[in-house]
């Protein structure tokens, strides 16, 4: 083939390759979610976790979450769903520190990779910043789980047998689940189940509130304590902040 033909072909091939990414680039400007910045006055839910107050052997928030959201539990680490997990962590570098408890949950990112990834927009972000799975639409492809850098999502591999909270639906198998900040409670003015349970045992570790309201619990905590989100360098802008990490 002569040079012209080669150049033509190469140009056309590159154009073809560009098509694959062109669409997302073109649409990166438009949002596939409700504007999380929102019009003035829009709420933006965030959470602050004060690890200095967390009691190592307490499981109040975990059990409250499981009961409230009908979370699947089989006793098998492969398939158990955890919307909130309690782990023990310690520093390894430069020196090994003592263990302390930590809570891991969906960070409700402001720039969620899972929302970007979902092919059907079943994972979406509401105007108030909450990232949710619409399980009616989900096809169970698990790309959101792959895209989440925090491993925050669990998949329902097996049909859930328990149904402690009949006022709330229980997930079928084949869909992922992650912490929703209990939006069904937030929407009607209640606190998330974990926050309420933690208050009940007197620990007051968890607080959920409006980040856009300077007078709310979370805003005051963030203003007065050094807080840290997980892997903020990834650019996901997590909205769960830790005190004492």
């Amino acid at each position: 083939m002569d040079r012209r033909g080669f150049l033509k072909t190469a140009g056309v091939l590159s154009a073809g390759a560009a098509c694959a990414y062109g669409l997302p680039l073109l649409c990166a400007g438009t949002s596939s979610r409700g504007a999380p910045e929102g019009p003035p006055g829009t709420r933006k839910w965030g959470m602050v976790i004060d690890l200095t107050r967390c009691r190592p052997d307490c499981t109040a928030c975990l059990e409250a979450c499981r009961k409230e959201n009908n979370v699947a539990f089989f006793g098998d680490a492969r398939w158990d769903v955890h919307l909130i997990r309690k782990v023990k962590i310690r520093r390894t570098y430069p020196a090994v520190s003592a263990e302390k408890p930590m809570l891991l949950l969906c960070n409700q990112c402001d720039r969620p990779p899972c929302v970007q990834a979902c092919p059907v927009k079943a994972t979406f972000q509401r105007e108030d910043g909450v990232v949710l799975v619409d399980q009616h639409r989900c096809i169970g492809c698990r790309y959101c789980m792959i895209a989440c850098p925090y491993n925050a999502r669990d998949f329902n591999f097996k049909e859930n047998r328990e149904w402690p909270n009949k006022d709330r639906p229980r997930s079928s198998h084949g869909v992922p689940q992650s912490c929703t900040f209990c939006v069904h409670r937030l929407d009607v003015g209640q606190e998330p189940a974990c926050v309420a349970a933690c208050k009940k045992v007197g620990a007051n570790v968890l607080a959920v509130g409006d980040l856009n309201d300077p007078g709310s619990d979370v805003s005051r905590l963030i203003a007065t304590h050094p807080v840290q989100g997980l892997r903020e360098d990834l650019g996901t802008r997590p909205k769960v902040y830790y005190i004492g990490l």
Partner: protein
């Protein structure tokens, strides 16, 4: 070609079999096992019925879908929905399943949502 001529009818048979089976079942069992579906009027706890029978018959699915999307995707809760249906129509067997079983149309809601 014998084989080529058979491919299309066989493929059509395979693809249309589920539909044909469902149709045949409803046609041949309508009126025989279950009788015509009959919904007893419940004692309404609220001011009255949400909508009249005919409207509901044609539009309850759209109503439920709209309420669902508003609640899940926009956070507008407290509207009517499956939970409020339950307040008056207390028994799913005599309410939803009565008609849905008669027309052999499966609903997926109750796999996850509680409705006794």
């Amino acid at each position: 070609m014998r084989l080529k001529a058979a491919v299309v009818p066989i493929a059509a048979l395979v693809i249309l079999f589920p539909l044909g089976y469902s149709l045949a079942r409803s046609v041949f069992s309508w009126g025989a096992e279950r009788g015509q579906p009959f919904l007893a009027k419940p004692e309404t706890k609220s001011a009255g019925c949400v909508r009249d029978n005919t409207w509901m018959r044609f539009h309850h699915m759209d109503l439920l879908k709209q309420v669902r999307d508003e609640a899940v995707r926009e956070g507008k809760r407290g509207n009517i929905g499956l939970n409020t249906c339950r307040e008056c129509h207390t028994n799913r067997e005599r309410f939803c399943n009565e008609c849905h079983n008669a027309v052999n149309l499966h609903v997926d809601c109750f796999r996850c949502h509680y409705y006794p």
